[in-house]
């Protein structure tokens, strides 16, 4: 379904970002900038143990400290019904969400919140936190999925029994869930193979690394209404979470999203809002909390470490005959890792008749994992794309040609069963193959080039947009999607395209939950897709109303008028025509304001077919130290239709940078007792601009079959292939296959020593 022939006046251009001036001048208002009269400051007491029974909590000394207004613990939370709360890009069990926000009987990871204090200043709150007396019975911690699955492992939840696709087993276990995908006959497929490669991979826990920490202010007003000002990816999601955790009526809560300093999936769940609401109720004052970086690492949701075993077979002609995978993902202290998504994506780029995939969701004594840009898929691609590379080498084939020969296309059945609609996997691979980078000389020793591809879904969900036509022809656009990656521009441009007016004539504003219809989270690569679609529908509504007004002005029938490229004209009389701006000037005398509305329920996971992405990466390895220099990176991605190409390129570059950091340096370095040894940004080493070259980008445009402009979400798939592409490049440079993330200098040197014997 395409709204035009693909020729656009606004879409595909690169207008100046509307939020740029405020952000570069420091005037944009973030959560930390919020202030109101009587504001108190909150601090949290957090568990020093990764696994412990909470025997008692005594808050009396803290409550008696001058300047302290309130203290809350899990006792202050209401009993809530069990069930799921949909966070948009991930669902959580409400009871577990509550217990993650404030530990009730057990601390399940170091940093697990035990109590919160509101005081006149952050310093008094810190003093008070130190006066809370908690008695623990410390238990042994278990930190990886294989260890947690082993017989005799410490059990996190006495009531957790493994569920086997809807069937509750009797075994108390750290494995919350096991599922399986199967197509064809995998044993026969491997029997038909001439080459079979099998390897085991381990990936470390990594954090999204958003620069702005979690920050929230809450006022529980005297009238029972709650106001929240927060840094979030979804204001309506916060509203729903707080309502369900505190057992309140959702519409009594108003959430104002402040500007957001990064999220990448990590700012979907609530951590601060419910305790701050309770503190505000107790103190009758507004309460604010800003997490420290240490709290961000230790007490918010990173993406899981994982253990993955992959086996792939192919025949001499280069056809993959069978594939098998076993994925065990760490969920953190409560069930709910993205292993299902990883399992759906692990073989997504390939058309494989025979495959078998087993997935395990495993609780461990680490923070509850949350979404991080294509959650689960990067771990999976790190494994599969190395095996694919190795098979191509053994068959003597070019690795891109081998992938092309097996590439998924429209009609290919995915590992989890459904068939792909129109997708751009082959076109991404063709773009890699034809890029000058792919065949450029490496130019020196100890250098290698790797390629990899990956996939991530689109999520549809619900969005709302209103458009108000000002009498000077400028259109005010109101929407509820937090703008993380430039969506004010991409949504406004879709409205402008539909109205036939310049992008600059649409002014987009993100508003609070009382001021716009339900809008789901900015996540799942959905915002430009779904909220942009709502903007398109709102613009169509405006166009129809404008035609009615033109009919009044000209005293003709509305159906005799058409709107083409922003000009309203009579189909019969060429003299009767007005621009959008001219017609807007007539509104005052033809009935007053025009407000257009657009809402969509744009479907669930898989809407639009998703996006494929690929990377070419050149590395140079210092053979003495194992230090890796990234020499050249090219990112290729199917955007369906790039609304604002600069933003799409920015997403591709950002995803590549995060993926390369994940590949080479980033990890939760855990001590045996479950403490994180590197919970600062000095020790948790994310890439900076000096670490990387300019990343070249190629946007492939294979329109999605569902969106009016063919849009696909582009926020996530670009992080999927980089670690595998780096690994394949390191193999070419060193001859060593690295099966563990991160591939830091120690791992590389040890691998080279091992190879040298």
């Amino acid at each position: 379904m395409l709204a035009s022939d693909g020729k656009y006046a606004v879409i595909g251009t690169r207008p100046i970002r509307p939020d740029g001036a405020d952000k570069v001048t420091g005037r944009a208002l973030y959560g930390a900038d919020f202030y109101t009269a009587g504001l108190l400051h909150a601090k949290f007491l957090r568990s020093p143990h990764a696994h412990a029974v909470i025997k008692s909590i005594d808050t009396s000394r803290a409550e008696g400290l001058p300047g302290v207004h309130a203290v809350v613990t899990a006792k202050d939370l209401p009993d809530v019904a069990d069930g799921q709360v949909d966070l948009g890009e991930g669902a959580s069990n409400v009871r577990n969400l509550q217990r993650n926000i404030l530990a009730r009987d057990k601390a399940l990871y170091k940093g697990h919140a035990i109590a919160a204090v509101a005081a006149d200043s952050p310093h008094i709150a810190e003093q008070a936190v130190a006066l809370i007396d908690v008695k623990y019975e410390v238990l042994p911690a278990v930190l990886t999925a294989p260890d947690a699955m082993a017989d005799g492992a410490p059990i996190l939840h006495d009531d957790l029994r493994t569920e086997e696709f809807g069937e509750q087993t009797d075994k108390v276990s750290n494995v919350a869930e096991h599922f399986q995908y199967q197509n064809g006959d995998v044993e026969r497929g491997f029997a038909d193979a001439d080459v079979v490669v099998e390897r085991e991979f381990n990936t470390a826990t990594v954090h999204q690394g958003y620069i702005e920490p979690q920050v929230t202010s809450v006022l529980w007003n005297n009238d029972g209404r709650i106001q929240i000002w927060t840094s979030t990816q979804g204001s309506f999601t916060v509203r729903k979470e707080v309502a369900q955790v505190l057992d309140l009526q959702e519409s009594r809560i108003k959430v104002t999203p402040m500007e957001i300093g990064g999220g990448f999936g990590g700012k979907i769940p609530s951590y601060l809002e419910p305790p701050l609401a309770l503190l505000s109720k107790k103190s009758a004052c507004p309460v604010k909390a800003v997490m420290t970086r240490k709290e961000v690492f230790e007490a918010t949701g990173p993406t899981p470490g994982s253990y993955i075993k992959v086996k792939i077979g192919a025949d001499r002609e280069g056809r993959i005959t069978a594939a098998q995978a076993h994925l065990a993902y760490e969920a953190g202290g409560f069930p709910g890792s993205p292993v299902s998504a990883g399992a759906k994506c692990i073989f997504a780029p390939y058309d494989i008749a025979n495959l078998l995939v087993d997935g395990y969701d495993v609780v461990v004594n680490k923070p509850k994992t949350q979404a991080y840009r294509a959650p689960g898929a990067t771990n999976a691609a790190f494994a599969t794309e190395q095996i694919v590379d190795e098979i191509a080498e053994q068959l003597g084939m070019d690795p891109v040609e081998f992938r092309l020969g097996n590439a998924a296309k429209e009609g290919t059945r995915r590992a989890d069963g459904p068939v792909f609609p129109r997708i751009g996997c082959e076109q991404v691979l063709e773009a890699i193959k034809s890029h000058p980078h792919y065949n450029a000389p490496l130019g020196g020793p100890n250098r290698g080039r790797g390629v990899a591809v990956g996939y991530w879904f689109n999520v549809g969900l619900q969005s709302s947009v209103t458009l108000s036509v000002n009498y000077d022809g400028i259109v005010s656009l109101v929407e509820g999607s937090t703008d993380i990656g430039g969506t004010r521009a991409s949504i406004g441009m879709q409205a402008a395209e539909a109205l036939g007016i310049p992008a600059e004539d649409v002014q987009a504003t993100v508003v609070d939950t009382d001021s716009i219809g339900k809008t789901d989270v900015t996540g799942g690569s959905r915002t430009t897709y779904a909220t942009g679609w709502a903007a398109y529908k709102a613009a169509e509504d405006v166009k129809n109303q404008m035609i009615e007004r033109a009919a009044m002005v000209w005293e003709v029938a509305a159906d005799s008028i058409e709107a083409v490229d922003g000009v309203y004209r009579s189909k019969a009389d060429p003299e009767l025509k007005m621009s959008f701006k001219e017609l807007a000037g007539e509104l005052d005398e033809t009935g007053g304001p025009i407000v257009g509305r657009g809402t969509v329920d744009a479907g669930g996971v898989g809407a639009g077919g998703g996006s494929f992405s690929g990377n070419i990466v050149d590395v140079e390895v210092d053979p003495d130290t194992g230090k890796v220099q990234i020499r050249r990176v090219t990112a290729v991605q199917d955007a369906g239709k790039a609304i604002h190409p600069s933003y799409v390129e920015g997403q591709m570059q950002g995803g590549s940078v995060q993926g390369i950091g994940w590949a080479l340096n980033e990890e939760y370095f855990m001590n045996d007792d479950g403490t994180m040894a590197n919970s600062t940004l000095l020790d948790y080493r994310m890439p900076i601009s000096l670490d990387l070259p300019m990343i070249d980008t190629v946007i492939v445009e294979i329109p999605s079959a569902t969106h009016p402009y063919g849009v696909r979400g582009v926020g996530e798939a670009n992080i999927v292939p980089p670690p595998a592409a780096v690994a394949n490049a390191l193999y070419r440079a060193t001859g060593v296959r690295l099966e563990r993330l991160p591939m830091n200098p120690v791992a590389i040197v040890e691998g080279m020593w091992s190879k040298a014997g």
Partner: protein
């Protein structure tokens, strides 16, 4: 008739059949009719009147947010998939109702 793909871990209930042709115009009717053909399947998928919170249903390739309410046409493919946190959405019909507020 819709083609229902039976998850591998449920195929013991369908005598090893990987797909079953089932009549019905909604996911709810499909599940009820599948239960008639292969008893025990509904219990694995449904909790009272809703899809189980950790199971989602895809109709013609797309996970539906409205679960058992989703319409099913002729020649439709129906897949039951794990719906767990981190990258997928729970069915919207699964939103819990609080005993206190009834919300």
């Amino acid at each position: 008739m819709a083609t229902v793909f039976i998850p591998p871990l449920m195929q013991s209930l369908t005598d090893g059949q990987t797909t079953v042709e089932v009549a019905g115009s909604t996911v709810r009717e499909i599940i009820n009719n599948l239960e008639e053909i292969h008893p025990g399947t509904k219990e694995r998928l449904v909790d009272k009147f809703r899809m189980k919170s950790n199971i989602s249903v895809a109709v013609d390739g797309e996970v539906t947010p409205i679960g058992m309410l989703e319409k099913v046409g002729e020649n439709t493919e129906v897949h039951f998939l794990p719906a767990i946190g981190g990258g997928v959405s729970a069915p919207r019909e699964e939103t819990p109702r609080s005993p206190r507020t009834g919300y």
